[in-house]
């Protein structure tokens, strides 16, 4: 299908027509369209990479690098996913590069905190839902392994489907399902431990 500017590669996928339109304009060097797309997507890219980098300076750099790549590679977008999914896929690789350069272990597993967090007796979901606090959720998410944290962020923050998460993480749907299952369980256990600790104080 030919697009108005003659670029046959870029076509829209339901729900992100506006992003596709900007991307078509970017492919022909339109800086105003790049600014629009930046304003639309930089927040979600920042939130995604910040979950792992935990440093606003590094996260800002990854956002700029990602959108710079979008500027250079706009023509190569094939329309097989949403623009946002494509952009987050680029951001993920940029973020992994930063983590590699740091060379350190990138997360602490929740199990490492077993001495800090008193026990793992599960609390009912109902009690958790009523009492859990924002900072506990953030803390427990930080302790998840990278892939699980990523899946959970894309699920809850971006509202992505199983297929979309699989595209970004380069894995089958079932792997996404398993990651979410484990992430959910670990978060729940971690929150329950927090609750126990608060109750014992």
């Amino acid at each position: 299908m030919d697009t108005p500017n003659g670029n046959a590669n870029i076509k829209h996928v339901g729900g992100d027509e506006q992003h596709c339109m900007w991307l078509r304009q970017i492919a022909i060097g339109d800086e105003a369209a790049l600014s629009q797309l930046y304003r639309a997507l930089s927040g979600c890219v920042f939130a995604f990479v910040m979950r792992h980098l935990e440093n606003t300076h590094d996260a800002d750099s990854v956002v700029v690098d990602t959108m710079h790549e979008v500027w250079k590679k706009a023509e190569s977008f094939t329309g097989q996913s949403k623009v946002k999914t494509w952009v987050l896929g680029i951001a993920r690789h940029k973020m992994l590069d930063v983590l590699r350069q740091r060379g350190a272990r990138r997360w602490d597993d929740i199990e490492d905190y077993s001495d800090v967090l008193i026990d793992n007796t599960p609390s009912p979901f109902e009690q958790l839902a009523e009492r859990q606090q924002l900072e506990w959720v953030a803390f427990c998410m930080e302790k998840l392994p990278q892939e699980q944290r990523e899946s959970l962020h894309l699920l809850f923050y971006e509202g992505m489907s199983m297929v979309e998460i699989g595209i970004i993480q380069h894995c089958p749907d079932n792997t996404v399902k398993t990651r979410i299952f484990h992430a959910k369980k670990k978060i729940k256990d971690c929150l329950a431990r927090w609750l126990k600790e608060v109750d014992s104080d």
């Binding site: 800086e31 920042f46 939130a47 350069q101 958790l128 839902a129 489907s161 979309e164 729940k188």
Partner: protein, 230 residues
């Protein structure tokens, strides 16, 4: 299938679909099925309370990131692009000038040579130049002469030509730079480019070691996700 088996399977399906029911990305068919299942199974209290917890957690995950002002990053990006554009324009301008200059110099040279005084001057210049070249050739054979140009090497970067086998590697997300360097060094591989938008690194290995390198890379499943020969 027995009734209890079917009930267990339905419960599992409901549990698996629940996170995507909460984020609103289920297909219409799955969403309808889950709505009805929840309605007909009020006795499954755990799944109903999990639904409440998931909604609460989703809201908290959404509000746990403070977003920065987009203007600063956008300014940085645009200035980066403008800088690249001005460099590209300068390179183009210089390339155009060098492409045009031989013609204009040549036409000036023809004009100058049409005068008899300049022709005589040129003959004199050629004689002087011949003398200088002869002196230089003699001094090159003396013991204190400067080393010949083939001994000069670049100050930085590899001076080896790109003539090995090229491979495309993707590293697993959890791999560290140290792990990657170790594996590449063991295989005498050098990164030629990358990572690209899809995280692909292009590496070059000596052609004589290519098969051994591919096997070695394939064994490093903890670090290398995929090996491909383009």
């Amino acid at each position: 299938m027995s009734q209890s088996n079917q009930a267990t399977q339905e419960l599992r399906r409901a549990q698996a679909l629940l996170p995507w029911f909460v984020n609103g990305s289920l297909s219409a068919v799955d969403e309808q099925w889950l709505k009805e299942w929840l309605e007909y199974h009020p006795e499954e209290t755990e799944i109903h309370t999990e639904l409440v917890w998931l909604k609460q957690t989703a809201n908290q995950v959404k509000s746990s990131v403070e977003l920065p002002d987009a203007d600063h990053g956008l300014d940085l990006l645009l200035s980066k692009i403008h800088q690249e554009k001005s460099i590209a324009a300068e390179v183009k301008r210089l390339a155009n000038r060098s492409a045009q200059s031989p013609r204009s110099l040549w036409s000036k040279f023809i004009d100058l040579m049409s005068s008899p005084i300049m022709s005589m001057g040129l003959v004199a210049l050629l004689l002087v130049q011949t003398g200088v070249i002869k002196t230089l050739l003699n001094s090159k054979n003396s013991p204190n002469s400067i080393e010949q140009s083939q001994d000069l090497t670049p100050l930085s970067g590899s001076n080896q030509p790109v003539n090995g086998t090229v491979l495309q590697l993707t590293f697993v997300p959890s791999s560290t730079e140290a792990q990657m360097s170790k594996i590449l060094n063991n295989a005498h591989a050098e990164i030629v480019s990358g990572p690209g938008a899809l995280g692909i690194y292009v590496v070059q290995v000596p052609s004589s070691d290519a098969d051994r390198a591919v096997k070695a890379f394939e064994q490093e499943k903890q670090v290398i996700e995929s090996v491909r020969q383009p």
